[in-house]
């Protein structure tokens, strides 16, 4: 016990209250006679009410001047006054307190801070001895000792057990009181202790310093209340189950804050129940244990003459709210060994026996607690740590939660997550950081140099300050809230209550708000500083105050982030941060947070390497560093792109200026075809040399593909838009190539003397997916070359010239340039789909096509024409070609034998075209339910119905599919199945190229590849198997639909 608190300074309150506002001496002592100034100076807001109350008969014997001096110490004088008057009405003897400066200060602080506890005293005036006779009261309400945090057992258990007439000296006491009487007695005893605690808390000169003790004491008090509830519950069980009840023991494990002895004034108490039994019948044991556990909650919470305390929440138990309320130790251990999710182990981090049979509780802890620290060896640890980290970041993103002290950005939760994260990462190798309590953990992490000394201090101080605010806010109504009050008056009161008497601290609402805001900002910065900054510590020159982690500890953190090769990552970090250049110094600032962003992608190691390369090729250009420094959105997007796509990383390395788009969404919009063509024309005009012009054209194509890919990776484009953008880029390039080829053969248009050299006009018609503008990255250009000899030209010479031009176009697009276009995937022109295939002439005249189709064409060749789209060449020829193609492809139902022929070809293609050994279920293009199934079905229906239904006349598969549904030719649900399968297969194909830089038509089997592609397709991390399963299911369904409509099964 210690002498009552800040007595020495109390007399000062006579002349001036602690707000520094002088109370005029010699004011009229008569009730109601106080001047406005005096009342305002005391801190009242409702002056009329204050006057009335001061005049009330209960205060007759009190010196009003002294009283005002006392009330000036109350954080909320209005509230303190009315509670005082009501209290004196119920307990007139309490008036004596007002003559004692120490005790009157305590009274003012209590009534002015907690309406709920004031009401308690008014409701239960017996307990006013806590104020009137502190020495006497101390015997029945223990005082916070210096041992505070470390005390394992406290007299609280004995006191609360005594309240329900249970014998505290036995390990499993049985209460004498029962029913609502017991509930009321227990709660009154609890609130008596709570009031005693609040009195000490509120009068301590250093409330932040005492906060850990208060929290520990609150946890013990909660444990004691549960113990007393259990004693009553046990009495019930004995009555209901007879001697069997004595054969069943229960232990209560505190989780969360209660387990860690860091509880706040009012909060759900998270528990887990465990039982043991000497009975043979496990079923009956479980029934009794469940009754015991349920009884606790009833006596603590359910309706009784004294209000309930708080919820006893057992939902963290195995299997959550569906699971059994209590289990045996073995059953718990079995669950955690076999079924538990990683986060459940994290929840166990704070588990501690708080009530019930101590040996049983210890047995539980011995069996379960070690599992927390081996959980890092379990699968999914990294991803679950990442999930935790994301939760921290997500919190930071919520700007609207401005008043949240706990969950808001820079709130308590941020501190707790950061600390737990470090405990889990380093606790595997370092036993001394395996502690439950947040503040102890901060100290342990500091002692082992996982956190710098200064950071640890700031972190702990911020945590204590936030907890203090939380305590004071909850104390007012004993309500579970974490919201900063809105009204200025309430903030003013909070500022006063959260300050010790005579303690400097925020003295008014504005000052409090300012300190709170600064603390939140500090907490936000500290997360980054504490977790990420030290990753640089083995290499970069950090300031002396910053912690220097060992390479092992850095490795642990990098692995926990998902870096597979921490040693390699360290080398890159070193290269990026060593030196005195502006770049190195800026990267020292940026890299910590970028390491986190890179770790969000599927390949953090690759991403870091790519960033190093990019930085080395760009680092000296001021805009690059400027962009990273000034636009964190751009830097984050860059990290995302680099760690999820080697395709983009490669291109970016050679076209580094594209990094500038990252910060500007407008620049990531696909460039329209016309704009590209205009730029290409300008280039051709400036570069009369064909090779150089072509190089420029190919650079433009490369740039536009990169733009599309970055926009795609940033989620700015949908699948259709990507297909269109890529097709447009190819079209612009091929159109450019055609012009360059013509210029090379015939001379520059302006310089052409006559047109004698030109015998024919050439047209490129895109086929297949190019025709439908639905290509992916790295697609070839399937074409037919169509030409029309100029009037009077020799047909044979014109044909030769057309073929020559066609060859030129292909060659211009692919042949090596000087200097080379780095990382380019040249556009390969593929004319193999032309009539007669490779044996046929490369180009044909339009007439020849018409002739061919009239006389020879197979149905599949008509079908191929469905996606023919004129992309480059003479506009008039394009118009005529399209008109002719329409007349062929939209000619109407080709008849049953043609349809049968299409079906037969498809069936043959299915068995023959599939590469040897490929699994048909995983082949994106030719596999079951893959792209080609959907396309063949759509095209067949187009052939049959496009003559009468104009909406079917499109080269795009998805538009055609949509039209088929609208026209009622396909049931909507079947259309949806096909749509989803086609989209998913297309998306996966893109994903494969973007992730690996290679083209492949097979769904990968390697997990890392699948994982990356799953993320590309919009899955959450850790869903590789989910994508695989979804793809197989989607395509199986698509195949069913396909077979039904195509083969008519």
């Amino acid at each position: 016990m210690r002498p009552s608190t800040p007595g020495s300074s109390a007399p000062a309150a006579r002349g001036a209250n602690r707000s520094g506002i002088p109370v005029p001496a010699g004011s009229p002592a008569e009730a109601g006679g106080f001047s406005r100034g005096v009342l305002i100076g005391t801190g009242f807001t409702d002056l009329d009410r204050a006057r009335t109350l001061l005049a009330s008969s209960e205060l007759d014997r009190v010196d009003h001047e002294t009283l005002l001096g006392i009330l000036a110490d109350a954080p909320d004088p209005d509230q303190a006054l009315i509670l005082l008057v009501r209290l004196l009405d119920r307990a007139p003897g309490a008036a004596g307190v007002l003559d004692d400066p120490d005790r009157s200060l305590a009274l003012a602080r209590l009534l002015g801070s907690s309406e709920a506890l004031g009401e308690f005293l008014i409701r239960r005036p017996d307990h006013v001895d806590l104020l009137t006779d502190p020495t006497q009261a101390a015997a029945t309400a223990p005082v916070l000792g210096p041992e505070g945090l470390d005390a394992e057992s406290s007299p609280l258990r004995d006191l609360l057990l005594a309240s329900v007439e249970a014998d505290p000296s036995v390990p499993e006491p049985v209460a004498g009181l029962r029913g609502k009487e017991a509930a009321a007695a227990l709660r009154i005893a609890y609130r008596r202790q709570l009031t005693a605690l609040a009195l000490q808390d509120l009068t301590d000169p250093d409330p932040q310093g005492i906060q850990p003790k208060v929290s520990a004491w609150l946890s013990d008090l909660a444990g004691a209340a549960i113990e007393a509830g259990l004693a009553v519950s046990r009495a019930d069980a004995v009555e209901q189950y007879g001697d069997d009840a004595r054969g069943v023991s229960l232990a209560v494990i505190g989780m969360g804050k209660c387990g860690a002895r860091e509880l706040n004034y009012i909060s759900d108490v998270d528990v887990i129940f465990v039982h043991s039994s000497t009975l043979a019948d496990g079923h009956r044991s479980a029934t009794i244990a469940t009754a015991l556990a349920a009884g606790i909650s009833r006596y603590v919470t359910a309706a009784a003459p004294e209000p309930g305390l708080w919820e006893v929440d057992a939902n963290l138990r195995p299997e959550g709210k569906d699971g059994a309320l209590s289990r045996t130790v073995d059953s718990h251990a079995e669950y955690y060994r076999r079924w538990a999710h990683t986060w459940e182990f994290q929840a166990l981090l704070k588990a501690r026996p708080i009530a019930g049979l101590p040996e049983l509780g210890q047995e539980y802890i011995d069996a379960i607690w070690p599992l927390v620290w081996t959980s890092s060896e379990r699968e999914g640890f990294v991803s679950s740590v990442q999930g935790m980290r994301r939760r921290v970041l997500d919190n930071i993103a919520h700007q609207d939660r401005d008043r949240e002290i706990k969950l808001g950005s820079g709130g308590l939760r941020d501190v707790e997550f950061t600390v737990q994260l470090l405990q889990l990462v380093h606790g595997k190798t370092e036993e001394s950081v395996r502690v439950r309590n947040t503040q102890s953990a901060i100290r342990a992490l500091e002692r082992r140099s996982y956190i710098g000394r200064k950071d640890a201090q700031s972190f702990a101080a911020a945590y204590r300050f936030l907890r203090l605010l939380e305590h004071r806010i909850q104390l007012v109504h004993l309500r579970r809230t974490h919201l900063m009050p809105d009204r200025p008056r309430a903030r003013w009161v909070l500022a006063r209550s959260s300050r010790g008497p005579g303690e400097p601290g925020p003295s008014d609402a504005d000052a409090l708000t300012a300190v709170w805001k600064r603390t939140r900002k500090d907490v936000r910065a500290l997360h980054e500083k504490i977790f990420y900054r030290p990753l640089l510590s083995t290499t970069a020159a950090l300031s002396a105050e910053e912690v220097r982690l060992t390479p092992v500890a850095v490795g642990e953190r990098l692995s926990a982030l998902g870096y597979l090769d921490p040693a390699g990552a360290l080398r890159h970090i070193e290269a990026l941060t060593t030196g005195v250049s502006r770049r190195a110094s800026l990267q020292r600032q940026l890299l910590p947070v970028m390491l986190g962003w890179l770790a969000n992608g599927p390949d953090p190691d690759g991403g870091l390497l790519a960033f190093r390369r990019l930085s080395e090729s760009l680092g000296s250009s001021p805009w690059f560093l400027g962009m990273l420094r000034d636009s964190s959105a751009a830097a984050e997007r860059l990290c995302h792109v680099l760690s999820s796509s080697s395709y983009i990383s490669d291109m970016l390395e050679h076209l580094p200026e594209a990094a500038a788009w990252l910060g500007r969404d407008r620049e990531l919009q696909p460039m329209p075809f016309e704009a590209q063509w205009q730029e290409i024309r300008a280039k051709m005009a400036r570069h009369p040399d064909g090779d150089e012009a072509m190089r420029q054209i190919r650079l433009i194509r490369q740039r536009e593909i990169l733009r599309t890919a970055i926009a795609d990776a940033s989620g700015l484009l949908d699948q259709d838009a990507v297909g269109h953008a890529l097709s447009d880029a190819d079209r612009a390039a091929v159109l450019g190539a055609l012009h360059v080829a013509e210029n090379t053969m015939f001379g520059h248009p302006e310089a052409r003397q006559d047109e004698a050299g030109e015998l024919t006009d050439l047209l490129l018609v895109a086929m297949g997916r190019q025709g439908g503008r639905e290509i992916g990255y790295g697609s070839d250009l399937d074409v037919m070359f169509v030409h029309r000899p100029r009037p009077g030209a020799d047909p044979d010479a014109a044909q030769r010239q057309a073929v020559e031009l066609a060859k030129q176009v292909s060659s211009l697009l692919t042949k090596p340039c000087r200097p080379p276009v780095l990382a380019e995937r040249p556009l390969i022109v593929d004319a193999d789909l032309r009539p007669e295939g490779k044996k046929g002439p490369l180009a044909r005249s339009l007439e020849s096509y018409q002739e061919y189709y009239r006389r020879w064409a197979d149905t599949w060749e008509v079908q191929a024409l469905l996606r023919a789209r004129a992309v480059a060449g003479d506009p008039e020829l394009a118009r005529d070609f399209t008109a002719w193609a329409d007349s062929v492809r939209y000619a109407g139902d080709p008849g049953p034998s043609a349809i049968r022929e299409i079906r037969r070809i498809k069936a043959r293609v299915e068995s023959e075209r599939l590469p040897r050994g490929a699994d048909p279920a995983r082949h994106l293009k030719l596999g079951r339910g893959g792209l080609s199934d959907v396309e063949w079905l759509v095209q067949t229906l187009q052939l049959q119905h496009a003559d009468t239904r104009a909406s079917l006349r499109t080269t795009e598969t998805m538009s055609a599919l949509e039209a088929l549904v609208t026209e009622g030719l396909l049931p909507a649900e079947d259309g949806q199945v096909l749509h989803r399968a086609w989209q998913l297969a297309s998306r996966i194909r893109s994903g494969i190229v973007v992730w690996s830089g290679k083209n492949s038509d097979v769904l990968p089997a390697k997990r890392q590849d699948l994982e990356a592609i799953a993320r590309w397709c919009g899955y959450e991390p850790g869903n590789a198997a989910g994508l695989e399963e979804d793809y197989l299911r989607c395509t199986r369904h698509a195949r069913q639909v396909f077979e039904k409509h195509f083969y008519g099964a």
Binding site: E319, A324, S326, R327, R338, A1005, E1029, L1032
Partner: protein
């Protein structure tokens, strides 16, 4: 390294174990085994053991590259029939992809997935199988082309000094020695036919136990110079071999099927579970009866219910609710009688559990119980009462399963596809065979 793994390594050293067999199963439930030198075990725990998946049924064509076997240390056992000379042990394995994730093609993983779904709903799933098999004189048929049983005894017969009695004693001892508790063993109705009931255990352990059981039974028979078979129907004239299994769901330590005072003491959960079993019984028949031969038993009468039905202590019903023993609330259970002795226990229990859980989740209504002998009803009566028949051949069963989203969801797309492929192939091979029946019936007259 966890404690279980340390225990295994210590035992290997203490008992001077010479070989460690790693066991796993293919999709049809055939046991596969790889022998490992003791020195390799620690490495296998840490990194798994690589093997070529492409040569195993159901793993074929999925992954060209190697797969990994991850031994489950909790299944470590010394194999008793190997004697003390060169002690040999075994562990069951989970099959992993080269990246260390559970392989979607591993039947054990299919069951694990359903069990963890049950755990998410708060349930533990216990199973108790009654396994029948025939003890034959040898693997070779007799002169009449029929298998030769070791005796001519019948149901519950005790044959003094009989081969089967000795055999059961040996087998039960062996099973106990390997940690499999036997509840019950007796002679069954067919000549040479025996039944041994295993004590209830959670479903994964039961499935492992069944795989072990089959091996033990075959080994013991061989030691005696006989041959044991789990073929569903080796004799046209005698009963086939089934694997009726009792199921119960526990919530923590209490039986979720039990409700005092309710009809048959069946809780709502139990009723919905049964409804789930019945509702999906047709589409899962290709799993519970996986061979061409299975259907000879299924449609051969006797103890093989072939109609969708349930009843209280009704042996003709597909799902039987056994008589309740008043003192044993924990023993409330339901018996699914539509499984034959050759089923893949992992897949079978996975689909049955999933069916039951679906019944619970979607609150299926339980149809009325069948009070009479379902087999004795006329076809029209059964139709009127809603007792649909199970499929009549493997082919029919596969056609139904192909359309089942439910089965695809439980097995996962990969096992679903592989299983169907494997079974279609079996059917295709079967239907071009000319059987003795055909020769006997047609050769003389046509």
């Amino acid at each position: 390294m966890d404690r279980q793994q340390e225990f295994v390594l210590r035992t290997i050293e203490d008992r001077d174990v010479r070989f460690v067999r790693l066991w796993f199963t293919d999709v049809t439930g055939t046991l596969k085994s790889v022998a490992l030198a003791p020195a390799e075990v620690e490495g296998a725990f840490a990194e798994g053991l690589g093997f070529d998946g492409s040569s195993i049924d159901g793993y074929t064509r999925i992954f060209e590259s190697d797969m990994l076997l991850q031994p489950d240390p909790s299944t470590f056992q010394i194999l008793p029939w190997r004697g003390e000379e060169e002690p040999t042990s075994r562990m069951f394995c989970d099959v992993l992809t080269p990246d260390g994730e559970p392989s979607a093609a591993d039947p054990r993983n299919v069951l694990r997935r359903q069990l963890s779904r049950a755990a998410d709903m708060g349930f533990t799933f216990y199973t108790h199988p009654e396994i029948e098999f025939y003890l034959l004189a040898s693997k070779e048929p007799g002169p009449d082309g029929q298998p030769v049983p070791v005796d001519q005894a019948g149901y519950f017969d005790h044959e003094p000094g009989g081969v089967a009695t000795d055999f059961r004693r040996h087998a039960v001892n062996m099973l106990e020695a390997i940690g499999i508790s036997v509840e019950f063993s007796h002679h069954e109705s067919g000549p040479g036919q025996n039944e041994i009931d295993l004590r209830y255990a959670d479903a994964l352990q039961t499935a492992d136990n069944i795989m072990t059981f089959r091996t033990v039974i075959k080994e013991v028979a061989q030691l005696q110079g006989n041959y044991a078979t789990f073929m569903p129907k080796p004799f046209g004239d005698h009963a086939g071999s089934g694997m009726h299994t009792h199921f119960s769901l526990f919530e923590g330590d209490s039986n979720a099927f039990f409700e005092p005072g309710a009809e048959f003491h069946l809780s709502t959960t139990a009723r919905r579970f049964i409804a789930g079993l019945l509702h999906h019984s047709v589409e899962i028949t290709a799993i519970t009866h996986q061979f061409v031969n299975s259907y000879k038993r299924l449609w051969g009468g006797g103890e093989a219910p072939a109609y969708v039905s349930w009843g209280h202590n009704n042996r003709s019903a597909l799902v039987r609710v056994p008589l309740y023993k008043p003192d044993k609330a924990g023993s409330a259970r339901v018996e699914y009688r539509g499984i034959d002795a050759s089923a893949n226990p992992y897949l079978t229990y996975a689909v049955l559990l999933a069916a039951g859980l679906k019944g619970i989740e979607e609150e299926y209504e339980l149809p009325e119980a069948a009070a009479e002998d379902v087999n004795a009803l006329t076809a029209m009566e059964r139709r009127a009462l809603g007792h649909d028949p199970l499929p009549g051949t493997l082919h029919d069963a596969l056609r139904i399963m192909e359309e089942s989203e439910f089965v695809a969801g439980v097995l996962g797309e990969q096992v679903f596809e592989n299983y169907l492929r494997n079974k279609r192939q079996e059917w295709d091979e079967y239907r071009i065979k000319v059987t003795p029946y055909e020769l006997q019936r047609y050769l003389g007259i046509l």
